[in-house]
């Protein structure tokens, strides 16, 4: 294998891991921008991926010949809806009941996986839901013919990857350039100030949390579709990794994009490093697996003194205390 082939292989694999992390981390960002800590990303990914994969499984068995890319897009909508349904539990406890957000999020994490496995096993006796992995578009016309870039970005790729980049692009615009995005940030930074100028803090936090759930649910679907051929009741800690990506990206969408690329690369290296001649004969899988977590800890150590985290993050807003 020559250098170029290797480069393309690693780049492909990196993007594979990057997209679900990117979508989910952006989800985490929307909740935290509004001041709600969402550590239930992991559970939300499981929840969203379950219902969408269940749908894919049903269609593939009963409607042969359904266009795979269209099927994936409909599944994406289902993942987003079920994801935000689950996160409404977080919004309710965090915003309306003013409960501890970390405990509420933990409860949702612990709830999601057993709940969907219970449903899967009640329906079918096993927790795994298989599906046909035929979503990949072999080559996007024209764009796929560009050397290197085309091979990395536009060959053997499913439509949700493009959706991921598109969401990142939209997120940047929404956060920095729209009234909604600025209000969302205001509510997370200084809710009482936002309230005095007429922004409904509770409503903004609800919306932030629901967007968060929708993206995490979608991220779950992307993760399962791109990494496996069956839903197995877990997403391998990717929700927590996405949380790390969000912090690494300092709650800014454009930085989150680069952070998820870095984490994606580490993940790609942890599975593909044996192909790289320099690392031949070394057992570095463990090293690359833990590196993102250690990098996050180091990044936190370096930045926490002047953290860019939303100031009111994790603090319930009480109108009466204004």
């Amino acid at each position: 294998m020559n250098f170029m082939e290797l480069f393309i292989l690693i780049a492909n694999s990196t993007l594979f891991f990057t997209v679900p992390l990117l979508i989910t981390a952006l989800g985490g960002m929307f909740a935290e921008k509004s001041g709600v800590v969402n550590i239930s990303l992991e559970g939300t990914m499981v929840f969203g991926s379950f219902f969408s994969i269940l749908f894919i499984n049903f269609i593939q068995e009963n409607v042969p010949g359904f266009n795979p890319s269209l099927l994936l897009l409909v599944a994406a909508i289902i993942a987003a809806i079920t994801g935000s349904l689950l996160s409404s539990l977080l919004a309710f406890s965090a915003v309306n009941l003013k409960a501890n957000q970390v405990i509420g999020g933990t409860a949702i994490n612990l709830f999601a996986a057993p709940m969907v496995i219970f449903i899967a096993r009640t329906l079918n006796n096993v927790k795994n839901i298989p599906f046909d992995q035929d979503f990949n578009i072999q080559k996007v016309p024209l764009l796929g013919d560009i050397p290197v870039v085309g091979e990395i970005l536009f060959q053997d790729i499913n439509i949700l990857s493009f959706l991921g980049y598109f969401i990142a692009f939209i997120a940047v615009i929404v956060i920095y350039k729209t009234r909604f995005g600025l209000r969302l940030s205001a509510v997370g930074e200084h809710p009482s100030a936002a309230d005095t100028v007429g922004i409904n803090v509770y409503k903004m936090r609800w919306i932030g949390t629901l967007i968060s759930g929708a993206l995490a649910g979608l991220g779950g679907l992307v993760f399962v579709v791109s990494s496996s051929v069956t839903f197995s009741g877990q997403v391998g800690g990717y929700g927590f990794l996405a949380l790390a990506v969000m912090i690494f990206g300092q709650w800014k969408p454009e930085k989150i994009f680069f952070a998820s690329l870095f984490f994606g690369l580490m993940n790609a290296l942890s599975v593909k490093y044996t192909l790289i001649p320099w690392f031949d004969g070394l057992s570095l899988g463990y090293f690359f697996t833990v590196l993102p977590y250690i990098a996050t800890l180091v990044a936190l150590m370096l930045t926490s003194k002047k953290s860019r985290a939303p100031k009111a993050e994790g603090i319930p807003y009480d109108k009466g205390s204004r």
Binding site: I103, A107, P114, L243, Y286, V290
Partner: protein
């Protein structure tokens, strides 16, 4: 006050159970009620009563310690979501000494247990230091450390042929001297898993109670928990309190790992760790136990017994065709409702006061 705390826990349990029942009814209306009865005690009324009771008591031991771990940190205002990582490290240390420490003779289990405490404490020390000196939130650092710990332990075990049984992807059986003594308990309880672990757990509970409520140190920890800044201005070294609280919390979780894995189990093969890239759930159970027990050591003993009780019930419920995952759903629902139980309680008190003339 104590009554109110008790009532809000009971309300959380009831809401959790009702939620679970509704789901069971949707899944299968005919088995839902028999299932609930089985879970809430039917499983114990059986000809194997003694053995089942012994197993339950055994499982309560580690559960008490993970509950104490999370609860102790709560008292200092810290949320130790890292109990699972500390538990895993403790488990590793216990198994390591349990296999390599044959020269220790009959005291091997004691050293294995102490090693677990030390490893758990060290894994708790890290988020404590990060919090005290770098202002890193303990929840995020503990989540990262959970994964680092799990992958590290798996890597260490898989790299050591003396520890790892490749065929079953499990750790090998520990030395006989490394099992926590079962004494006469095992015979009394009809060859169940019970051993001295439960007495160790209760002994540790009493120590924790004493430390929290009868010493200046415990008072300082709680002062930091109720108001970090007020405590600081009254001369309490808050950084020291934060770090020590996480160390003790980690030690407790590590001890729980030892208590579970240094046991013979109800069959004599012992409890072995299955190497997989998933976090152990024991630490998360501790969160439910601590919340239900309102972080009070004695409350934690009660709630640990209750959580173990319904978990065992869920295991036996499977004969009715009800999937065992329902128990985790119920426990999660209990955590969710406990998180808001305090508020519901406050509202209830307000309503009650309004009615009084």
């Amino acid at each position: 006050m104590k009554n109110q705390a008790f009532i809000s826990s009971v309300v959380a349990i009831l809401l959790g159970l009702i939620f679970g029942l509704i789901i069971m009814i949707i899944a299968n209306p005919f088995t839902a009620f028999p299932g609930l009865l089985t879970m809430m005690g039917g499983w114990l009324a059986h000809q194997d009563f003694l053995r089942r009771l012994g197993d339950l008591i055994f499982l309560t031991g580690p559960m008490i310690l993970t509950g104490l771990s999370v609860g102790f940190a709560f008292k200092t205002g810290l949320f130790n979501i890292g109990a699972t990582g500390q538990y895993t490290l403790g488990m590793f240390a216990a198994i390591f000494v349990g296999i390599y420490g044959t020269f220790l003779g009959p005291t091997q289990w004691i050293f294995a247990f102490l090693a677990a405490i030390i490893f758990g404490a060290l894994w708790g020390l890290l988020p404590g230091l990060l919090k005290a000196y770098f202002n890193v939130h303990e929840v995020i650092s503990s989540i990262m450390l959970n994964y680092i710990g799990m992958y590290t332990v798996n890597n260490l075990i898989q790299g050591d042929a003396n520890l790892f049984n490749v065929a079953f992807s499990k750790t090998k059986a520990i030395n006989l001297n490394a099992y926590i003594p079962t004494t006469i308990l095992r015979d009394v309880f009809d060859r169940s898993a019970i051993d001295l672990g439960i007495l160790i757990a209760i002994g540790i509970t009493l120590i924790i109670y004493f430390v929290l409520y009868k010493t200046t140190f415990g008072f300082e920890l709680q002062a930091v928990g109720s108001n970090r800044f007020a405590a600081k201005y009254s001369g309490i070294k808050e950084n020291r309190s934060l770090i020590l609280s996480m160390v003790i919390s980690g030690a407790l979780a590590g001890a729980a790992g030892a208590l579970y894995f240094l046991a013979k189990g109800s069959v004599n093969s012992g409890n072995q760790y299955s190497v997989g890239n998933e976090l152990l759930t024991a630490g998360f159970d501790g969160i439910a136990v601590a919340l239900l027990g309102q972080s009070h050591p004695f409350g934690i003993v009660l709630s640990a017994f209750f959580i173990s009780f319904i978990q065992r019930g869920g295991y036996f419920m499977q004969t009715l065709g009800i999937k065992v995952e329902i128990i985790d759903v119920i426990i999660a629902a209990i955590i969710y409702t406990s998180a808001m139980a305090m508020l519901v309680k406050d509202k209830l008190i307000k309503i009650l006061k309004r009615k009084q003339p």
